[in-house]
Assembly symmetry: C2
Homo-oligomer: 156 residues x 2
Amino acid sequence: MNAPHRHEAPTPEIDAEAVRTYRVEEQIGYLIRRAHQRASAIFETVMRDFSVTPVQFAVMTKLHDLGPTSQNQVGRLVGVDPATMFGVARRLTTRGLVRPTADEADARLVLLTLTAEGIQVIEAMKSRGAEVTARTLEPLSPDEAAELVRLIARLG
Amino acid sequence: MNAPHRHEAPTPEIDAEAVRTYRVEEQIGYLIRRAHQRASAIFETVMRDFSVTPVQFAVMTKLHDLGPTSQNQVGRLVGVDPATMFGVARRLTTRGLVRPTADEADARLVLLTLTAEGIQVIEAMKSRGAEVTARTLEPLSPDEAAELVRLIARLG
DNA sequence: CCTCGATCATTCGCCTACGAACAGTCTTGT
DNA sequence: ACAAGACTGTTCGTAGGCGAATGATCGAGG
């Protein structure tokens, strides 16, 4: 039942029964990945007019709530790592939705600020945000939707 | 209350109250994205020895279950679009886990087949699959975990 | 038989994601 | 005052994700 696993064999005890009964489409990781694809597609459909991605949107909501905030800090708050955040900030800046400024007290920081256009856009988007959520949760009853949100939040 | 929205103003009725009360971190889309990041990290930790990504793993499980299958078909079954599937197949082929062959009946198809090494790897990985799921659902009770899986599957 | 529409694989461009390495800059402890 | 360690942003490489376009091939209908 158990392999002799010699020096290079990458075979650390294979459970044949587990192998036989494994189904990817029932695993939580796979289901989350599919749900993520679907949620992104819905966001894209509802927010099409703005040409702003879900991550760009999350960053902008934070800047809207907090005012000028350093790049790494805002990334930390919305779950975007520094390397990714760099590109996100660059694209938002290029599009004129955000303006980078230097912090006077700390020369390392790049503060991000919403431009006037950025504020226009984020307010319009926030005001449509409920529709994205509603459409994403549409297959579930209100109770089920609330339960799903509660449970998935606890995974964090 | 409603803007006059001239020809270029991207301001289609902004609901000020909705704007004020919107919180990204409570939206299902945001929560799914965070959960996806966490689930991927756990997969990477548990499956580190194999250097196979979650998507590569999903593709390989399907090939293991079905035998030689065309690229697009496999992608369809695990939710990977043709453009992405192309890169996934190339990387699996380069690593020697999969071998591409031509279909005799249909010249368009590229059939993917697990190599002997690919079979070794996927069986070892399937046998550790339960650990990924367990760790991902660890913050929840068994009942809650089952409920989460049930609900998120219904989003598909 | 032959054309038209569907399907397959490929390519390009843009975006998110993250490990790893790096150079400035700041802070802390000695 | 200064060296050590921490933090910030940047860059590189690899990987998924997808819209859009393309060329090759297939299948169905006329």
